[in-house]
């Protein structure tokens, strides 16, 4: 059997576009990570989206689609005034320098969503909320006065610092932490840490693709302390 140029042209177009069309129909064609957190596996809330799986790549709009909370509300309590729907959580860490062991980042959003929705969430020790968020939870009847006392409060001054300081100053003073919520075990290897060093700090892990935070949670190691130790080891 003989094929000519025309047949090759047809084969190329039909196989590539047809294949994409069929795979799309079968639900296999995914060009981005799904912005839907995994479901809680067991217990009273089994089947509900797990706030602990909210990722830094999600926007407030993505959260609005999955949890009963609006992007506007999230924008209000995290002081994001412009376009909260398309605001990616990972930008929080860039906006607000970390304060002690608290970090105004993805974990704080996970924590807020959990408190607002009443879903279970195990704290990692680095969450904190601005007073405006705590007031909001109280006003909405999501937490009592006593509970409000137990929530770590982020110093609102860091917002004032951020707003007052000229942009370059903020960039110069803000030292990017090496180990963050989205750091994987593979990233630790890339930072030059050995397997023994990593295991001694966070415990055994199953694969290099795991998030350091998840490994810490699984091994009951405080992530906030572990990331400081890992940072020191990486800077040695």
């Amino acid at each position: 059997m003989k094929l000519n140029q025309k047949s090759i042209a047809i084969l190329v177009v039909v196989i590539l576009f047809g294949g994409v069309f069929v795979s799309d129909a079968l639900g296999l064609w995914k060009t981005e990570s799904s912005k839907v957190p995994v479901k809680i596996q067991s217990g009273e809330f089994a089947g509900e989206a797990d706030p602990a799986d909210i990722r830094g790549s999600y926007t407030f709009g993505d959260i609005e689609k999955v949890f009963p909370i609006t992007a506007e509300t999230l924008g209000e309590v995290f002081w994001v005034t412009e376009n909260p729907e398309s605001f990616q959580l990972k930008r929080l860490e860039e906006m607000y320098p970390s304060e002690g062991e608290f970090e105004m980042g993805t974990s704080s959003v996970r924590y807020f969503v959990a408190r607002y929705t009443g879903l279970p969430y195990e704290q990692t020790g680095e969450e904190g909320l601005f007073p405006v968020a705590i007031e909001f939870l109280k006003r909405e009847g999501k937490i009592s006065e006593e509970e409000a006392q137990t929530i770590p409060v982020m110093n609102p001054e860091i917002i004032l610092q951020y707003e007052d300081a000229p942009e370059e100053t903020v960039v110069e003073e803000h030292v990017e932490p090496l180990v963050k919520g989205n750091t994987t075990v593979a990233d630790l290897f890339a930072l030059g840490l050995s397997e023994e060093e990593i295991i001694s700090v966070i415990g055994e892990f199953e694969s290099k693709g795991e998030l350091v935070r998840d490994v810490c949670n699984g091994n009951e190691v405080a992530f906030s302390a572990a990331k400081l130790t890992l940072q020191e080891l990486a800077e040695k």
Binding site: M1, N4, V20, D187
Partner: protein, 270 residues
Amino acid sequence: MKNRRWIQIGFFLFIAAIAVNHGLTEAGGGIAWLSNASLHAICPFGGVVTLYTYITDGAMIKKIHESSLVLMGLVLFLSVLVGPAFCGWVCPLGSIQEWVGKIGRKIFGKRYNRLIPKKADRLLGLLRYGVLAWVLIVTALSFDLVFSTVDPYYALFQFWTGEVAISAIIILLAVLGLSLIVERPWCRYACPYGAFLGITNKFRIFTIRRNAKTCVDCKQCDSVCPMGIEVSTSGKVRDLRCISCMECTSEAACPIPETVQLLGGIKDEA
């Protein structure tokens, strides 16, 4: 214009449009009816580099998505059928090298493609497999898309974003510059995906065959082959570098009808 040119131009513009639309969408705009996938999501080589982690860990490496695995499967199927037609007909980096090569042909005339000795050209061709091994190993170890730091294809469609490593831009410029003296230098000497797909030339179902009985030994097929393959001495082209471009066939360069053709079947293996 030949079928292949149209397909190459079509895919080049299509990929460029998707790359631009991705940037526009991230900035809050974009064209709704056009795909806004990232360049990594529509690159079949992403499927190859993530295969190991996908099998061993069930995880995709960063920035690679399931669409890359789908494309990898489709391109592999096409290659088993007719050889690496993806390289010769679709890949925009291959196309742009050919287009720059046309300028080179005008400048250097008959010396074009002959400035690198044949033996060196063949040996350099093996470099592709070194690059392929390096990419697969470092990706599996780092869980990261390390290749994007040197990938001229990524640089070609993202150079305006500020996200491209300077090393990738330098390699792209070097590749385009070298295209003026030798056709498809990246494909010949460095492309890891071309190396991977090239393996199918050893067992593809439809192959380029030369009929020695009717051949007049004019060597037209050799001079047009963009990958420097000596078609005139082969019965069946099983060279790892063939990209199924069909330029050597009786439909294009070969002046004798039914002498160099793309035929199926396993008879008359040369």
